[in-house]
């Protein structure tokens, strides 16, 4: 088994969004759509969960968005560098089968993470419509990988491409004229929440992928807990995908910012040390 964890390819897709292909056959050969890995990038590093966004010949791909100290640092890694610890695949795979008409929405870095789900849905002979949503036209990363989908829609917040506005607005526009059997929405939590509200209104099942703050990723710490209907669920082992209509979004969103002050401090200290993050 080749588990060298070497970065065999690295590419900057947009400002602060970097793609890595990494050699690890155990992950590559076992990964299913919707699953994730956890990285540790140096001896004092934290555990960083990242979605597996594709596999190829014993390697797997992650798309990283730089949002804080660890991801800034990770984006500085280059081809030939090694990730010291990679554990995965983790989490429950997406429930993919032949549904009929499927709507998949990807926003921000979620555009990359829906790729394996869209591919699997197509393999199961679904008709798949996809909405890609981004801040502006420069952030439609890996757009070429959506060629097989039935209809592709673009949304930008500034109107530089496709519809001006938000993903859930496009979603509602489509739902008004067409019936879907199931949907997925993956992206920033505000987007997933808004899409879930639309789905509820149209009585449509919607899978969202929750990026809860994690430590172990094995159900051992309970830090990733989230309220689904009336039950506490652990995102790492019960998820990461849940029915968005049942998620308690308010507590989920506040839990995401529980280390805001610490994260700010860590990034400031890091930038003091390395200077301008010119590599982003």
């Amino acid at each position: 088994m080749k588990t060298s964890n070497l970065i065999v390819e690295k590419k900057k897709l947009a400002y602060g969004i970097h793609m890595f292909w990494i050699e690890n056959e155990l992950v590559a050969n076992n990964a299913k759509a919707g699953q994730f890995v956890i990285f540790r990038i140096h001896e004092n590093g934290e555990r960083i969960p990242l979605t597996i966004a594709g596999v190829k010949d014993g390697t797997f791909r992650v798309i990283v968005k730089a949002v804080g100290k660890s991801t800034y640092e990770l984006c500085r890694f280059e081809k030939g560098d090694k990730i010291i610890d990679i554990v995965g695949p983790l989490g429950q795979p997406s429930e993919i089968k032949n549904y009929g008409n499927v709507l998949v929405i990807g926003g921000g870095v979620g555009i990359a993470t829906i790729i394996p789900i869209v591919k699997e849905l197509k393999n199961h002979r679904n008709r798949v419509d996809v909405i890609l949503a981004a801040r502006n036209k420069d952030y439609f990363v890996l757009e070429e990988e959506f060629k097989e989908v039935d209809n592709l829609y673009f949304v930008t917040n500034d109107g530089s491409r496709g519809m001006k506005g938000y993903a859930h607005e496009m979603m509602e526009k489509l739902l008004k004229k067409k019936k879907y059997d199931i949907s997925w929405a993956i992206g920033p939590s505000l987007m997933m929440k808004a899409c879930s509200e639309v789905a509820k209104k149209y009585d449509l099942k919607i899978w969202v992928s929750l990026n809860a703050i994690m430590v172990d990723g094995t159900g051992m710490c309970g830090g990733c807990r989230v309220r689904i209907s009336d039950e506490l669920k652990y995102t790492c082992v019960d998820g990461p995908e849940f029915d968005g209509r049942l998620v308690d979004w308010e507590s989920f969103n506040t839990r995401l910012i529980q280390y805001k002050e610490e994260e700010k401090l860590a990034l400031e200290k890091y930038l003091e040390k390395v200077g301008e993050p010119t590599w982003l």
């Binding site: 155990l26 992950v27 076992n30 699953q35 540790r40 004092n44 590093g45 934290e46 555990r47 100290k69 660890s70 010291i84 610890d85 990679i86 554990v87 995965g88 695949p89 983790l90 430590v215 172990d216 094995t218 159900g219 051992m220 710490c221 309970g222 830090g223 807990r225 989230v226 309220r227 506490l232 652990y234 082992v237 308690d248 308010e250 507590s251 506040t254 839990r255 910012i257 529980q258 280390y259 610490e262 994260e263 401090l265 860590a266 200290k269």
Partner: protein, 456 residues
Amino acid sequence: MAVKDRIPPIERDPQKRAKDFFEVSLGYDEERAVLEAQRCLQCSIPTCVKGCPVGIDIPGFIKQIAQKNFEEAYKILKDYNSLPAVCGRVCPQEIQCEGACILNKAGKPISIGNLERFAADWASKNNVEDEIQIDKNQNKKIAVIGSGPSGLTTSAELAKKGYTVDLFEVFHTPGGVLVYGIPEFRLPKDIVKKEVSFLEKLGVNIILNIPVGFAIHPQEILENYDAVFIGVGAGTPKFMNIDGTELNGVYSANEFLTRINLMKAYKFPQTDTPIKFAKKVVVIGGGNTAMDAARSALRLGAEVTIVYRRSENEMPARKEEIHHAKEEGVKFLTLTQPVRYIGRNGKLIAIECVKMKLGEPDESGRRKPIPIEGSNFIIETELAIEAIGTQSNKFLLSQFKGLELNKWGYIKADEFGRTSIPKVFAGGDIVTGAATVILAMGAGKKAAYAIDQFLK
């Protein structure tokens, strides 16, 4: 004849030690160890041995210490227990060997734990090499899943018997609860490292970062190995699930301790994993985990209160830990039960509690706590850490179809770890539910024996 007093171990000053993560107890020096060992009556029918889950020849090793044959003492211990430096520190001796010691009737049992630790530390300091005796190669492969005390013991025993052992661990560091749960100030991680390197010397392949069930399918394991041992621990923390459990500031002890021990969050921002350095912390529970969480929070600078629904007598923690916690300034609020978390803007600010009284004994034999109506009151706090126990971790089990579980969701296994699948053995917390290091080790040892029998 009056029974002589127990010789106390050397301990660091509570004020000083409560500010760092270095070890609290320094154990015995040679002089103290010998004095304590000389107190032993060398009974012809030693009751202490019956109290020890692995039946160590206690009078035997103590006699060697009394005669200053420290290396010999260590060798006797090692015959029964592969981790004496660990067990001497963390076993609940007061309900095991020391509880069964005849001198306990006078309230002054032999300090067997401290003597065990002394012998192990002495051997380590004096570079006593463990004999590495490996039987002839059996040409058979065993997979061990989980590197807690049960997995470590099974691996060592089977490697010695000449089997090829692959030990899989999902974390980036081996040791299970010994590294992620029990804090440095109680069990220095160098001790665990040393045990792990001994395993490597025995030829065990330790393979980290492998989530068995996900990266390797159980079917694959069954096909590629002659036998399998599962020692994945109890793992999943329970929550009381009262209102406000999802508030920021509410932790499970497992999360709090893992951040600190495994991820070294107490050094943040030198390390990347954050933890909340709070002024006020409430820990809920009365076991070792609660004590560890409380004393860790104290070391991060907090004022800490332990809230427990029964009385101190019923606390399952080792007596020594309760004593140390008190010395260091942890406050105890017993006969108290939280009923609701109170938050502001998503952050915990207080806990509503109710006073309890003790009623009739329940199934566990302990008197059942009953809420006193109308006694509700509020404790202000920034953090609440729940240490109310764990339940069966489904991480591996959900993938391992066909493995029979008992009604509590743990693996069904006999005394020798045999499960419903012929090739598959199991032991430790995933069979018994949350228990102790020594029981997990004992289970590992028995399973190794049974695996050897099975393959012969």
